[in-house]
């Protein structure tokens, strides 16, 4: 978020997904750090169909994915070397004069500074850092430089690094350099992980902003909200997740209230998280299942699932849509707004809301970008913010004419190595991610029979050369250890990963990748570097007669809450 707001003035996705359906010859999709077909399947399908119609596809990913199979150019880079690669692409574009000179002159600033930095990133030098052959860098740059429209898509593969913000700005620089902003089939499009993370950020679930990204430091903003809410709004910023844990460590943070998040499995260095969350005086968890984090909570507030409550979700393309209640929440479960309003009342503040619409009304008066959106309008359509007035049709494409912050800003950045690189003791590099069947910590998907069936347990991808050197065969039980912990899992020997690289997910509670990941974060946004850390792999044993006796999976099963492996459990022992 932070990167794009500095360069373009808004951290959200600039264009809309539907544009993919219109892309064809002359258009280019530049997918960097996104395994779209597995993590955003429907968008993945649209991309592949666009390629079939003749659009060009450039993919930047250290792993072979379905997307790379359809790519015109696959830049298989060393994880964490995105800035070097992107600067090199910019270098080639500038060298050949493919940049949008007239757009740059009129709509951008700080271009000269950017040119100076980009000039240093010769393709052959970037090839050494990224491991991508210089010829491929030139091919990619040619396509990007000469295409009529280039739409850039990226996700966690770009952001979850210590150089996360630099990566985002480097992506944005490419778009701005080639004038691919503010037009259909272009734009810088971060794809959000969850269905309403865009809505959560819109509503101010960030340390430094109030709803509508209105900075909390601005006194007029604070006064506006204080008047509306009748409470004093503190001026200093809130804490990011890592600093919350440090706060607990130092005794400054006394209580943690967790909504629909399972940090005990989704945050890096689980042992550290466990230590802090057990130490904090009060831990409240509001979720629809008893997740690992909920099991160590002092208070558990059972929330309502999407089909059990009214409200709105805002999708990754800033589209606000109505969610309507279909069934009653089971047992003591209540919708989140109801729990919060009762809590506020219990704490002595008047919070008499009877329906989410009232809350939405109160919010939209205070939030310019949501001002024109109302339940009435949402009854039979969905709107993309910003939608300032009641008759405004919504904004499918941002930065049309000029970017939100006026002039698009080049923010050059130099390449920085990831925080923890492989060494003698931990010779291999681990990168984490998702498989299509499961979602984050598996709280929901591992309770679904079919999804558990197609992906029953953690399969660590390891290259055949590395596997041979460690006498590991496909299906063997292996241990993956880092400076922070050790995890047992099943080996999947495949050339999807390159030699020296190992891939794991964090879906499986009993062998979660986040037991190993590094807490080092991006200095600006504190996003943890989940995509790169150093690990050691060793063979535990070949499975006995029955793979079912991957008993080791049962021995250290997660606490009760998580559904264990049915497919394996009724095997004869």
């Amino acid at each position: 978020m932070e990167g794009l707001s500095t360069t373009l003035g808004s951290g959200a996705m600039t264009n809309s997904i539907a544009e993919l359906h219109t892309m064809g010859p002359g258009d280019t999709i530049f997918a960097i750090g996104t395994n779209t077909t597995e993590c955003h399947p429907i968008i993945g399908i649209a991309m592949i169909k666009a390629v079939k119609r003749g659009a060009k596809l450039i993919v930047v990913d250290p792993r072979a994915t379905t997307l790379t199979q359809h790519a015109d150019v696959w830049l298989r880079l060393q994880p964490g070397s995105d800035v070097a690669l992107l600067n090199a692409i910019a270098h080639v574009i500038l060298q050949n004069g493919w940049e949008a000179t007239e757009y740059i002159a009129k709509h951008t600033e700080n271009f000269s500074e950017f040119k100076k930095i980009a000039a240093r990133y010769f393709p052959y030098k970037a090839a050494e850092i990224t491991g991508v052959p210089a010829t491929l860098i030139k091919d990619a740059a040619k396509i990007i430089g000469q295409s009529r429209n280039v739409a850039i898509y990226y996700t966690m593969g770009v952001t979850q690094h210590t150089s996360g913000v630099d990566n985002v700005m480097a992506v944005s620089n490419i778009a701005v350099l080639t004038g691919n902003i503010g037009r259909a089939k272009t734009g810088v499009n971060p794809l959000r992980g969850q269905n309403n993370v865009q809505g959560a950020c819109d509503m101010g679930a960030l340390p430094d902003v109030l709803p509508g990204y209105q900075k909390v430091q601005k006194t007029d903003v604070r006064e506006k909200f204080a008047k509306a809410w009748g409470v004093e709004i503190p001026e200093e910023q809130g804490l990011t997740v890592p600093s919350v844990l440090d706060g607990i460590e130092k005794g400054e943070v006394k209580a943690v209230y967790i909504f629909g998040e399972n940090p005990l499995r989704s945050d890096p260095d689980i042992n550290h998280v466990k230590h802090c969350l057990e130490k904090v005086e009060l831990l409240i968890v509001q979720d629809i299942f008893l997740t690992e984090t909920a099991q160590i909570a002092d208070v558990v507030l059972p929330g309502a699932a999407f089909a059990e409550k009214d409200g709105t979700f805002t999708s990754t393309e800033r589209r606000v849509q109505r969610v309507r209640k279909a069934i009653e929440p089971p047992g003591q479960c209540k919708p989140d707004w109801q729990i919060l309003s009762e809590l506020i009342a219990a704490m002595g503040y008047p919070a008499a809301y009877s329906h989410p619409q009232e809350i939405f009304e109160e919010m939209r008066q205070l939030t310019p970008s949501y001002n024109g959106i109302s339940y009435a309008r949402l009854e039979n359509e969905s709107l993309q913010w910003p939608c300032p007035t009641n008759d405004h049709p919504g904004t499918p494409i941002l930065h049309v004419g000029s970017s939100i912050r006026g002039k698009a800003r080049f923010v050059p950045a130099d390449f920085r190595l990831p925080a923890e690189l492989p060494d003698k003791e931990y010779p291999m590099m681990l990168t984490t991610g998702r498989v299509v069947a499961h979602y984050h910590t598996g709280t929901m998907t591992r309770r679904c029979w079919g999804l558990r069936g197609v992906a029953p347990y953690e399969m660590v991808e390891i290259h055949p050369e590395d596997a041979a050197a460690l006498a590991i065969e496909d299906g063997d039980q292996i241990s993956v250890s880092s400076r922070r912990g050790e995890v047992l899992a099943v080996a999947k020997v495949t050339t999807r990963v390159s030699p020296g690289l190992v891939f794991m997910t964090f879906h499986y509670s009993e062998s979660s990748g986040n037991m190993l990941t590094n807490t080092a974060c991006d200095p600006t946004t504190q996003t943890p570097e989940l995509k790169v850390c150093a690990v050691a792999v060793r063979k535990v044993k070949s499975p006995g007669v029955h793979l079912a006796d991957t008993g080791f999976l049962q021995q250290n099963t997660a606490p009760e809450g998580v559904f264990h492996q049915p497919a394996l459990s009724n095997a004869p022992h």
């Binding site: 197609v454 299906g475 007669v545 793979l547």
Partner: protein
């Protein structure tokens, strides 16, 4: 591959490579001799009783042996549970076998046979007396009369589970024999099929 169980491995021969030299039979019989003296022809005092059987025909030759079926008909047919599965091998506990031959009928591959038991050249007898009429000269050392019937047990491939590699596979001069691990085989076949589908798709996009 989410077959949760590892299926029983088994040995199979490639008829294209087999030259019918019978080394696999010799190796199998030699390795299953009780005492592990050096395996010279001089030491093979017992008749050669391999657990795989070379079939020679006009189309060429190929040995037939046990497939270690998951629902082994021989095991199901055995009235005294002499045939059971241990680890991933269908094996015969010779001490329990009563020689009823039902397993021979049950095996669809003909990979199982009732064999007379010998020990350093002499038939091993069981306390089953022979009627005077059927006591005939012969036996091991000439002149001595047989009073008791020779022991018989079911004999089938046990995939040399004690050895690093089955003796027949290790000794076949043409490398015609190999151990099949069903899951690996399936994954390999599916990968090839997928590649062929990719080629089809790319060329003849429907």
């Amino acid at each position: 591959m989410n077959m949760p169980y590892r299926l029983n491995r088994f040995v199979i021969a490639d008829p294209g490579k087999c030259i019918g030299c019978r080394v696999c039979e010799i190796a199998c019989a030699a390795v299953h001799e009780k005492e592990q003296t050096p395996l010279t022809v001089g030491n093979m005092q017992n008749p050669v009783q391999p657990r795989l059987y070379l079939v020679r025909s006009v189309q060429g030759s190929v040995p037939i042996q046990c497939r270690h079926c998951e629902d082994a008909p021989c095991a199901a047919a055995c009235p005294v549970l002499a045939i059971t599965q241990k680890e991933d091998v269908i094996f015969v506990d010779e001490s329990l076998c009563v020689g009823c031959k039902t397993c021979m009928l049950a095996c669809p591959f003909g990979a199982l046979k009732l064999v007379p038991v010998f020990e350093n050249g002499l038939p091993v007898e069981q306390n089953l007396p022979l009627h005077p009429e059927s006591q005939h000269q012969g036996g091991s050392t000439a002149g001595e009369k047989e009073e008791y019937k020779q022991l018989h047990v079911a004999s089938k491939c046990d995939r040399c589970s004690g050895l690093a590699e089955p003796a027949c596979v290790a000794n076949c001069p043409q490398q015609a024999l190999k151990v099949i691990q069903p899951e690996r085989h399936l994954t390999m076949r599916m990968h090839e099929a997928a590649l062929s589908l990719a080629a089809v798709a790319r060329k003849y996009a429907s």
